[in-house]
């Protein structure tokens, strides 16, 4: 039976950080067996992931900033101008703007903005900033002042995933973690977001095992994305220094 995690030092009062939600696992099943109705732009697992991020790291009436990839602010997949910022206009995170409705229904104050905004004059502080990083991006969006956007106890949640190009792995995790550290943030957690329904394990494909010679060309099917959690407060991380519960 899941146990609610304990209250630590709070931000706005003694009950500020004492939700009844259980302590999260490092793997979140986000896909559902049945597809949801909508515009069809957003992956069915992404609203669930955003909702779970919001409910885990914020409380009602908190301010949540949703940094939407370029071209998706109007829920229309548009390709960016070549060489604008290196981000693609579509992909696994297309239709992210639709998740704003789910966040608003949870009682949070949602601020959907483009992740290419450059105005840094007196930015508002948010309790949670959610953004995405395309694995094929050569560099991150210019809103790298993540620390300036966060409340002192705020959380930055970056959704990304690995990819491959010419048979080689492209993993943006290192780039994101380095950028966040450069911005003064603390790498707090890594959570796997499952994009496929789990019924006692991912469904087995009927693809035959490749032969020895062309085994290199066959890749495992990507079934998860990565959620990277950063905090502006080093103290929160230090207090989190505990022995991981072994699964044995």
């Amino acid at each position: 039976m899941p146990i609610p995690w304990d209250c630590g030092p709070t931000r706005h009062g003694p009950h500020r950080r004492c939700p009844r939600s259980p302590r999260p696992a490092s793997v979140w099943p986000c896909a559902t067996a049945s597809h949801r109705k909508g515009t069809g732009l957003i992956s069915d697992w992404l609203p669930t992931a955003v909702t779970q991020i919001v409910t885990t790291y914020t409380q009602p009436r908190d301010h949540v900033l949703l940094l939407i990839p370029l071209g998706h602010l109007d829920a229309v997949a548009e390709r960016p101008a070549p060489g604008s910022n290196g981000l693609r206009g579509n992909g696994a995170f297309a239709g992210l703007a639709e998740a704003a409705w789910a966040v608003a229904r949870l009682g949070r104050i949602i601020h959907p903005e483009s992740n290419t905004r450059t105005d840094t004059a007196a930015p508002e502080r948010y309790h949670l900033v959610i953004t995405t990083v395309d694995p094929r991006a050569r560099r991150l969006a210019p809103t790298l002042g993540w620390a300036d956007l966060l409340h002192p106890d705020g959380v930055l949640a970056v959704i990304t995933h690995s990819d491959s190009s010419a048979g080689r792995l492209i993993d943006p995790t290192d780039m994101v973690v380095r950028a966040a550290r450069h911005a003064g943030l603390t790498y707090l957690d890594h959570i796997a977001l499952l994009e496929i329904p789990l019924h006692h394990g991912p469904a087995a494909s009927t693809t035959p095992l490749p032969s020895r010679r062309n085994r290199r060309t066959t890749r495992a099917i990507r079934a998860h994305s990565d959620l990277l959690i950063f905090s502006r407060t080093p103290g929160a991380a230090i207090r989190a220094d505990h022995k991981e519960t072994p699964n044995a």
């Binding site: 039976m1 899941p2 146990i3 995690w5 304990d6 709070t10 931000r11 302590r23 999260p24 696992a25 490092s26 793997v27 979140w28 099943p29 067996a33 790291y57 690995s162 048979g167 080689r168 792995l169 993993d171 995790t173 290192d174 973690v177 603390t186 790498y187 707090l188 957690d189 890594h190 496929i196 789990l198 019924h199 006692h200 394990g201 494909s205 035959p208 095992l209 020895r212 085994r215 290199r216 890749r219 495992a220 079934a223 998860h224 959690i229 905090s231 407060t233 103290g235 929160a236 991380a237 230090i238 207090r239 989190a240 220094d241 505990h242 991981e244 519960t245 072994p246 699964n247 044995a248």
Partner: protein
């Protein structure tokens, strides 16, 4: 009995249906296997072996701990070799292998008391180009003797090990590294990225990043309990998976090996020793008088305690070793026959498939 390989692999490996205690118990491991806290879970090892190798292939764990990779490879019908420098873990691994052989596993299996850098010496020529899968884990607290030439524990040790494994790989081989999450003062260490860098530096080709679940699935949900939730302002997740990085062998090795070293099996029709430069393979019928190639260098020929240096390293119990040697784990002085396993394994393992035949 060899298990059926899965039809296709996903980036999420459902390897946590049973906790590790149950896995070790049901698969016949010794209770002492649990003393290796950084072991690869048996289900994870079995999943990786079944998909990334085929029956008859060779699986290597250069830092095998208590031998879960070796046992699962044996159960899956793969030949396997493991290295460790811990006397206690060497004994545990050998006992696990013996128990697995007793239930009918037929392939060759060997656990060597040697440093991973031994793989770069000519003494490991019997394995050169024959390993199809390297499956190991990033160990933060390595045990056993410290290698004098070792840069340090953790990532440095793993980087040296990967470099040592490169000459042993087939061109189509895979290198799989599992990583347990670790925190330093509450900050999560980005170990997968560091391992990716280490593998890239060693010359491996990064292919994919996967996760292996350590938590049971109940329908579409994961079950996880938190007996001792930490006092944090921001919730910290419970570990429910291991990171898995998959590398490929360097592509240039296929060309280089064709030019430099034809395999001795196909070199001569009369099975004599190969004279190709750089190859010190010893033919099977000439192994009876040689010294074990992986003896520990700091021990004298007189041996250390009851184990002579030349008879300490291997636990070869394969098709070319009579079943009577299976009891050697309880009687170390009976290891004479198995001591020459690695030299003889060159004739027992399948030949590299990219080396052209040379007819004289």
């Amino acid at each position: 009995m060899p298990e059926q390989p899965p039809a296709a692999a996903w980036s999420v490996w459902p390897t946590g249906q049973h906790n590790e205690t149950t896995q070790l118990h049901t698969r016949g491991y010794l209770p002492a296997t649990r003393t290796d806290a950084e072991r690869i879970p048996p289900a994870l090892a079995a999943y990786a072996i079944n998909y990334y190798s085929r029956p008859g292939d060779t699986v290597l764990d250069p830092d095998c701990g208590t031998g879960t990779v070796l046992v699962e490879a044996l159960r899956a019908g793969r030949h396997t070799v493991g290295l460790t420098t811990s006397d206690r873990r060497w004994n545990i691994t050998r006992a696990n292998l013996t128990a697995t052989k007793l239930i009918g596993a037929w392939p060759d299996a060997s656990v060597l008391d040697a440093y991973p850098r031994m793989l770069t010496t000519p003494r490991a020529a019997g394995l050169t180009g024959r390993v199809d899968l390297v499956l190991t884990t990033l160990r933060h607290h390595p045990t056993g003797r410290a290698d004098p030439g070792e840069a340090g524990p953790g990532l440095s040790r793993l980087a040296q090990t990967l470099t040592a494994c490169i000459p042993l790989l087939r061109p189509t081989a895979h290198v799989i590294i599992t990583i347990r999450r670790r925190r330093s003062r509450g900050i999560l260490e980005d170990l997968p990225s560091a391992v990716l860098t280490a593998g890239h530096t060693a010359g491996l080709i990064p292919l994919q990043r996967c996760i292996a679940l350590t938590t049971p699935l109940r329908g579409t949900l994961l079950t996880q309990t938190a007996p001792h939730p930490p006092k944090t302002t921001i919730p910290i997740s419970l570990t429910a998976h291991h990171d898995v990085l998959i590398f490929g062998a360097p592509e240039h090795r296929a060309v280089r090996r064709r030019q430099e070293r034809p395999h001795p099996r196909h070199a001569d029709t009369d099975s004599t020793a190969d004279s190709a430069p750089g190859c010190e393979w010893v033919p099977r019928q000439q192994t009876s008088g040689i010294k074990h190639p992986f003896h520990r260098p700091h021990r004298s020929a007189a041996g250390h305690g009851p184990h002579p240096a030349g008879h300490r390293g291997a636990a070869g119990q394969g098709t070319n070793v009579p079943q009577s040697t299976l009891g050697a784990v309880r009687s170390p002085t009976n290891q004479t026959r198995s001591a020459h396993y690695l030299a003889a394994v060159g004739s027992a393992l399948p030949a590299p498939d990219d080396v052209p035949h040379r007819r004289s």
